[in-house]
Amino acid sequence: MASKSESQVQGKAEAAPPGEIETLLGEVLEGLSPEISSARGAVSVKVPPDRLKEAAERLKAAGFDHVKAVTGIDRPDSGEIELVYHVSSYLDPRLSKWIVALRTTLPRDNPETPSLYDVWPSVKYHEMEQREMLGIHFSGHPDPRSLLLPESYEGVPPLRKDFKVKVEGINA
């Protein structure tokens, strides 16, 4: 079903045939032990945390010129925080049809990763947001302020799973 909707959507815009983007990513990220998978129209590349920056640099060189979203996913069961950069391209029409999820996992108790601000300046506010929402430390990020929460906010970062909010009785 899912593939049907994709092919219908992309069929009209001379999409790159499925598989091409994976091959391309495989070539670009050769040697960084990437795990490439695609599902539901999104391609995702998983790299080890220490290879993240290098992978980003290579992707940038390959034409992925901006980041659409930076998302941290807290997974307390496995003790990890998954960090996803959704990257794409404005200029290269072949790449801009795709949103590539560049992902890595960080340890939950000390999530630290180099900031990709040097590679993609467009991550600036996204990384700030993930920092305060999930407590991920982006080393080398130029702006140490908090973004959305009040300066005085203390406690568990709100998007961690152990930060509980009230829920409606009927669903609880």
């Binding site: 959507v9 979203a69 996913i73």
Partner: protein, 389 residues
């Protein structure tokens, strides 16, 4: 005297006629802004966290609140992501109806931005006219959906209502009126020598900077990048519509405003095409349609709307994740859902266009005059609740 000593720090907002729901911390040297830092988060209502506590269908109204002037496009983005996750697809008529509402919303959202830009430059007439013409699209959207702004019109697998009787004629009248109005705006606002003087060459965003900073929407297109999700990754009925991506090369405040005006024209054309080519058929996906008890069928046909099937209330998408993007009025909106198979999303990420454009404040409002702050701010069509979520 050191550099710091003759710099005055101006706190603009959150209570300021032109700050909106945010604070701009401007360092001013005489009449020149040395640097400006946006302080956002004044409308941070934790949509992403609350979404984790809500059923998938309950998230639709939730994500409509932050981008209040541009609800339908965001609703659409979320529903597309959810449909990808569920592996369903809306029937053709529903797709066209979605496109129709999305374009109507784009028109009134652009008028909203235009009006706010007008009042920031001091032209109360531009504000009032834009808000008047905006009401026309709002009124028609209200006939279609039942609400002024928060439509919750698109649901997974389709839309809530069909076209009301007589809608095409009303819309035709409205479109002809709007087309007549745009020259009036040119007379009083766009071609006004004062507007020109205030906007031309002010806040120039160069092409490479726009790409580097990941700017979206009309702000990007005004810098000469023809990136529009409706063309690049077409969704709904856009592949079958004939429209141009409006771009300008200058990248200044005037260009950003004129791109919006151009998009209003394009949307008017698109709505005409949509109403002409709209296919017949059901407005809800078959599998949900089957779940509706037969006794409601007649009621649905009579009222030209659907009864929400119970299955939608506790949707349980399979484990996995989906990402969808739409071209909302202010730019590209990205919706990212991670599901763990439960009725509530495991992680829900909204990247609204405004949060991606917020970087422009510190980039553009630098080495310009104090009076340029509202001129540039208005041209960005930045809506703080949308950025803060």
């Amino acid at each position: 005297m050191s550099e710091e000593e003759h710099v005055l720090e101006l706190l603009i907002g959150p209570q300021h006629p032109a700050s909106g729901h945010m604070r701009l911390v401007a360092k001013v040297d005489g009449d020149v802004v040395v640097s400006l830092r946006p302080d956002i988060g004044y409308v941070h209502r934790t949509v992403e966290k609350l979404a984790e506590t809500k059923n998938y269908i309950q998230i639709i109204p939730l994500i409509e609140r932050p981008p209040l002037a541009d609800t339908a496009n965001h609703n659409l983005g979320y529903v597309l992501a959810l449909e990808r996750l569920l592996g369903i697809e809306a029937p053709p008529r529903a797709q066209w109806l979605r496109t129709l509402l999305a374009e109507m919303t784009r028109i009134h959202s652009h008028f909203y931005g235009l009006g706010i830009h007008g009042i920031m430059l001091g032209s109360s007439t531009a504000f009032m006219w834009a808000f008047w013409d905006r009401e026309i699209m709002i009124e028609l959207a209200q006939r279609l959906t039942g609400a002024r702004l928060t439509y919750s019109y698109m649901i997974p697998g389709g839309v809530r209502r069909d076209l009301p009787p007589g809608f095409e004629d009303e819309m035709d009248k409205a479109l002809r009126y709007l087309e007549r109005r745009i020259p009036d705006y040119h007379k009083i606002f766009f071609d006004n020598p004062v507007t020109r003087a205030r906007l031309e060459g002010v806040g120039v965003l160069r092409r490479e900077d726009a790409i580097r900073l990941g700017i979206v929407g009309p702000n990007l297109r005004a810098s000469g990048v023809p990136y529009d999700v409706r063309k690049v990754d077409p969704y709904c009925a856009y592949p079958e519509l004939d429209f141009n991506v409006v771009t300008r090369e200058e990248g200044d405040s005037l260009a950003r405003m004129m791109v919006r005006v151009g998009e209003i024209r394009e949307s008017i054309n698109m709505i005409r095409q949509i109403l002409k080519k709209m296919p017949d058929g059901p407005i809800l996906e078959e599998r949900y349609l089957k779940m509706i008890p037969p006794k409601w069928k007649e009621w649905m046909a009579q009222h030209r709307r659907i009864k929400l099937p119970a299955a939608l209330i506790s949707l349980r998408p399979p484990k996995g994740e989906a990402v969808a993007r739409v071209e909302a009025a202010r730019g590209e909106a990205v919706y990212y859902i991670v599901s763990d198979g439960s009725p509530k999303p495991y992680r829900f990420r909204v990247v609204s266009p405004s949060i991606r454009n917020v970087v422009l404040f510190e980039h553009l409002i630098r080495n310009c005059r104090v009076a340029d702050i509202p001129a540039i701010y208005g041209s960005l069509d930045y809506f703080p609740p949308e950025a803060d979520r």
